[in-house]
Amino acid sequence: MTHRSDELLQDYLDDLLGSEAPPVQVAPRSPAPEEHREAGVRDANAEKQRQLQKLLNSAKLQVAQVAPQSPPEPEIKEPVPVPSELEPAVVVPEDLTQPEQAEAVAQVLDEQLQWHVNGRPHWAQDEFEVLLFKVSGLTLAVPLITLGQIQPLTDELTPLFGQADWFMGLQPTPSGKVRTVNTAKFVMPERYDPEFVKTAQYVISINGVPWGLAVDKVEQPIRLNPEDVKWRSERGQRPWLAGTVKAHMCALLDIPQMGHLLTKADKNAG
């Protein structure tokens, strides 16, 4: 990305925050030499890339289960176990429509909705992992702990008439029907590119609610220090926006809040 486009993107992220950009608070807890830190980042990136590949592999296998008419795979692989540190991100109730299970996760979701007096959400009190993904050219980050599964979007995505324009449809998955959000339209309606409905490849489900975000491309998970994020102070206009991460030129989504908003928007929600 060019310096100019970096600037434009930063301007956009600053616009999202709705305020002038104060210096980004980058305050590493232990001041390490820069070169040592970069080498560490490279190693960590390689590991994250490997973990992401495993996540995507397991998503591909699940597609084969729900679309038997697709060309057969040369060999059927066993589901790839998810690395233990990512497990909270991919554990989803088998059937989100079960009231007992919904109730069980409700308490956790309530916790994750809370923002502390230090201006950070509950899930960002310590270092946390986020998954980066692309939506119409914009990089978005979501905390891994709030995610469900990554599923490919298929022809089975069924639109429903009479819904909001950001509702793409219902995507059948082994875990149930994911109510798929047109993330590009939801997050940046003013810059919406209709091509997104053709380019979106995956739906990332939100843990605990039957909603998911359509995305173009899933990138690697990364670990963030809370100080790496410019946290949003005024969250009235875009409550789903937690902040921005300058180092990765991305907007950090408050997925628990987003799930809460989506659930609240559903007039049929019990």
Binding site: Q69, T97, E156, T158, P159, L160, F161, G162, Q163, A164, D165, F167, L170, P172, K177, R179, L262, A265, D266, K267, N268, A269, G270
Partner: protein, 161 residues
């Protein structure tokens, strides 16, 4: 019939029959109890001054039946009439009307427990026409609540046609 046996077997979870039809590439279902018959497309006489969702009227064995433009009602794009186009004659709220659909597919049997609530986000009134959704035969059926297809005021409007 096996289905009847199932229906009797579990009164708490009755099996319902749904007539499925296609509209703009998606499959919809309506309760078979409300379907009187399915007609091939025939000339529909337009009615001057009728609401936009009314295509016109047909003569059904001496009775005048109003035909609804289902695509218009569901805010779907208009389409040409084809050989597969059908008019489904339904009875709801003591009224008989026809709904025009792209094609009629089959009758499916669904357990009540298989039907899931559909989301209702946004401000479109038409969302209330969706009773629920159900995954059947590798596709998602959108089940229509015919009783909500028209409001009391709209029924009164149709009665004047």
């Amino acid at each position: 019939m096996a289905t009847n046996a199932n229906q009797n077997h579990n009164a708490d979870d009755p099996v319902l029959q749904w007539v499925t039809f296609r509209l703009d590439g998606e499959t919809y279902g309506i309760n078979v109890m409300q379907v009187q018959e399915v007609l091939r497309y025939s000339e529909i006489a337009p009615v001057p001054g009728a609401p936009a969702y009314v295509l016109g009227i047909i003569n059904l064995r001496g009775n005048v039946v109003t035909v609804i433009d289902t695509r218009h009602r569901f805010a779907l794009p208009a389409a040409e009439v084809t050989d597969n186009t059908r008019i489904v004659i339904i009875e709801t709220d003591n009224h008989v009307i026809g709904i025009m659909v792209d094609s009629v597919a089959e009758v499916v049997y669904l357990r009540q427990s298989e039907i899931e609530t559909a989301p209702n986000v946004g401000n479109e009134e038409s969302a209330k026409f969706i009773q629920g959704v159900c995954h059947k035969n590798d596709e998602l059926l959108i089940l229509i609540e015919l009783n909500k297809l028209l409001t009391n005021e709209e029924w009164a409007e149709l009665d004047e046609i």
